[in-house]
């Protein structure tokens, strides 16, 4: 057989195995046999999932896929990214086209109850917010009484907007637009004083203004949009792997383990650090992995802070403040259960 033919036969073999094992074996075994993690991501969302002209993916959600691949397969590059629309994402997961969905998806009761999927935690606390032009120097959403508000029609943002103003006894005039781009243009043209959408979206939209520094995104968040990775509901072992990779990245930040110092962390005397990097505790084996699982994840993509700052924070053009997504001990609400 030629190399190509052998490779082709190998692929066929792997496909057969994976097809068979999708039913019988667990996702972790399937992923191992296939040698790659099939990870569902957004087709293109600034800071969260982007593909460059060489076909290389990057972003906050993309890095989570890589972290899971590093933990489960030993290699952050063994990921096949599957770009998915919002409509097809949960079907793709249920039908086994992907092993993991890491695509800015909001955790809600209905999704878990109706779709046979489980959210493995929260990687990003998003929520609806407001953007104003700097001129009036508004610093709080409670100062928006009587303003004209641009909003995309047919979104939950429109309903949240009404609820927020009613709850705070404030009046507003709605300026509805069919697309986010139109709504942004409405703000830029002065048809409204305020634009409302999810906070992460507002930061991306702000970059499209002629002078981004003239617009201010208010710190108030008026709705809950907890985004997180999703697995099938019938595989608790794989669900646990995904869940604890997320917790490991958050705990790594909390104990000070970074992609830069991960190797020397093995020599630390601190029990929290030693358990995280796997020189103590034997925790990886309990997840069906080896004990260096979390160490590899952190080495590959960095701890939570590194992933955040690189993709959406101070080292990215978005520059989104950590806000809710800061550690519980540092001003936010990120809290991961202990690795022990």
């Amino acid at each position: 057989m030629s190399t190509e033919a052998r490779a082709f036969a190998g692929v066929l073999f792997a496909l057969t195995i994976s097809f068979a094992s999708a039913v019988s074996a667990g996702t972790l075994d399937t992923v191992r046999q296939r040698g790659t993690l099939a990870c569902g991501v957004n087709q293109g969302l600034f800071g969260f999932a982007e593909r460059n002209d060489k076909g290389v993916w990057s972003g906050f959600d993309v890095d989570f896929c890589r972290a899971v691949a590093a933990a489960s397969l030993g290699d952050p590059d063994k990921v096949s990214f599957v770009p998915l629309s919002a409509a097809e994402r949960f079907d793709a997961l249920r039908e086994g086209k992907i092993d993991l969905l890491s695509r800015n998806s909001t955790w809600t009761l209905e999704r878990e109850a109706d779709l046979s999927v489980l959210f493995a935690g929260i990687t990003y606390h998003d929520g609806q917010s407001f953007m104003v032009m700097r001129k009036p120097d508004v610093t709080s959403a409670l100062e928006l009484d009587g303003s004209k508000v641009c909003v995309q029609t047919g979104t939950t943002s429109q309903a949240n907007l009404a609820d927020f103003f009613r709850a705070n006894s404030m009046k507003y005039e709605e300026r509805p637009f069919p697309t986010p781009a139109d709504a942004l243009k409405g703000l830029a043209d002065g048809q409204c004083d305020v634009l409302t959408a999810d906070q992460s979206a507002l930061y991306a939209m702000r970059l499209e203004l002629k002078k981004p520094s003239e617009a201010v995104i208010l710190p108030d968040v008026i709705s809950k949009e907890p985004l997180g990775p999703v697995t099938r509901a019938d595989d608790p072992a794989w669900f646990n792997v995904v869940k604890w990779v997320n917790f490991a990245l958050v705990n790594a930040e909390e104990v000070g383990v970074t992609s830069q110092n991960a190797t020397e962390a093995s020599g630390s005397t601190k029990p929290d650090v030693r358990r995280l990097v796997g020189v103590e505790g034997g925790l990886g084996k309990k997840l069906g992995l080896d004990d260096a699982w979390a160490l590899r994840a952190v080495k590959s993509v960095g701890n939570y802070a590194e992933v955040y700052e690189r993709n959406v924070g101070t080292k990215s053009r978005l520059g989104i403040p950590r806000g809710l997504n800061q550690l519980w001990s540092m001003g936010g609400i990120l809290y991961a259960p202990p690795l022990r």
Binding site: T139, S140, P212, S213, V216, L218, P219, D220, V221, E253, E254, V255, G256, V257, T258, Q260, N261, E264, A265, S268, K270, V273, A305, G313, T314, G319, P321, R322, G323, L324, M330, G331, G332, I333
Partner: protein, 214 residues
């Protein structure tokens, strides 16, 4: 107990250096010399001080993540408290209702040497600068004394932290905001430190926090 080398970079004058030995009630953790937390420092922007380079009162960080802005910030500290997160390169003034006014800062070598709780003990406009001997050894071109002004590396304002040698100050190198730098403590662009100075009275509580070290 105190290593002069580690403590002296952000000292403005020798008088302040001696007062460190009086470090007392407000210092939760004494400013002992300890290994540099590598994770906290990240890559250090190793540029020398540039006495004489002019930076005016109008210089603020107006764009990007290190621009002054109101952010969500959950804390049990009272409004008005200043919180410095060295690993993030941010200084926060706590506001009511889970928010804070956030400033981008540059953190000098000495800023990483210490964390704790102090109060603002003194405020000065356009402070003079007396580089300590160790600093002159490293950068022999530095003057022995420099009067306060737009070309002074200490910048437009200084807020002194308790009885320690640490301080929040301006800079004539605004491009270093957001970085770990080789000298100084906690630096802000001159326009931003002036804004901060006007909001922070004497006696304000200041909490300095590092990221954890392994």
């Amino acid at each position: 107990m105190f290593s002069g080398r580690n403590l002296s970079f952000c000292a403005i004058g020798a008088a302040v250096l001696t007062s460190v030995f009086l470090a007392g009630v407000f210092v939760a953790r004494p400013a002992i010399a300890q290994p540099m937390p590598i994770g906290g420092m990240g890559s250090v922007l190793d540029i020398g001080d540039e006495p004489g380079r002019i930076s005016t009162e109008e210089t603020v960080i107006s764009d990007g993540p290190f621009a002054r802005q109101m952010v969500f910030f959950r804390t049990t500290e009272a409004p008005g408290t200043v919180i410095i997160h060295t690993s993030e390169r941010f200084l926060y003034i706590v506001q009511p209702k889970n928010r804070a006014l956030r400033y981008g800062i540059g953190v000098g070598r000495d800023g990483f040497q210490w964390s704790g709780l102090v109060r603002i003990s003194r405020k000065a406009e356009w402070p003079d600068w007396t580089p300590p001997a160790e600093m002159i050894q490293r950068q022999p071109y530095l003057p022995r004394f420099m009067a306060g002004g737009p070309g002074n590396p200490m910048g437009a304002r200084a807020l002194y932290l308790g009885e320690t040698v640490y301080r929040i100050h301006g800079t004539n190198q605004p491009e270093t905001i957001g970085s770990a730098v080789s000298s100084g403590c906690f630096r802000l662009a001159n326009g931003d430190v002036i804004d901060l100075y006007a909001r922070i009275p004497l006696g304000t509580k200041v909490v300095v926090r590092h990221g954890a070290s392994i």
